[in-house]
Amino acid sequence: MCTMIVQKVPLEGFGKGNSGWFEMNQANVSWDHPFHAPEEHALNIDFVNVAYGPGARVAVELSVEGARQLVDTIQSVLGEAEEKGLI
């Protein structure tokens, strides 16, 4: 909570957390202190379903470069699938 840079995005999908798969409905994206990554700040994404409690969470902590590559790759994969008429 030292940077306060956080945004939430609703989404549909499933994530595998500590207790197995669960239906998630939101991603929380922040640039703040990570819990595990050996950096002062990281691009953190928590895929959650608040209705299931704090434990319903799939977490990633990314470097800036890794986060940008992930965004580009997701767009690329979705674009390819669209080109092939799969979406």
């Binding site: 940077t3 922040s30 202190h33 953190n44 704090p54």
Partner: protein
Amino acid sequence: MYTTDQYEGMLAETVAMRGANGDRVLAYSARPLGPGPFPGIVLIHHMPGWDEWYREATRRFAHHGYVAISPNLYERYGHGSPEDVAAAVRAEGGVPDDQAVVDLEAAMHYLRALPYVNGKVGVFGTCSGGRHAVLVASRVAGFDAVVDCWGGGVVMPADQLTPQRPVAPIDYTADLDCPILGLFGAEDHSPTTEEVARHEEALKEHGKDYEFHMYEDAGHGFFYYHRPNYRQAQAVDGWEKIWTFLSRNLAA
């Protein structure tokens, strides 16, 4: 200082208190065994949550002769692993300042009600807890010393104010009525050296009793031995400054 031939015992356990809105708030407490009287200290956990480091720190203060209590400021966000709960709080932009202040005031009164506390209560916090320490010691009467370890967001530009954090703690400087010790790293990004300098200037301007130390080759959280930003020499020196400062200000 303890000696090898002295008796030492400690009681450490989870307790409960009433915080803001009358909510039950769990707290971790540790105290030396014996009648005391001992000084009290409220520990304010950091952004990563009410976690193992804070339990260890609470016991460390007890080992040094303090009745220590560390309330769970994230109580309203559910229970689970400290990381999961802290992540939920992070998504909400942190806990509301007003709620944290009342929870911490309640912890202070909890200590003051104990028959083995000497009537002096300090407050210690790191990271967001350092900010909360400055905030509560400024807004609430009853603290006798405050230790701010690298609290980011004491200085807040207008565009960083939020409904949860509507006022920058530095704006309450005139109301601070106890000595403050600040420990910071020169490589920290929050707070920056410039922000620490502004805070120091405000304390000076209002004639406050303050002691700030800026450590070279240290960044954010240099006490955290489980993180790569741990700095051994700076951490040892920082802890020594804390014990000296608190023994001077919390003696009966």
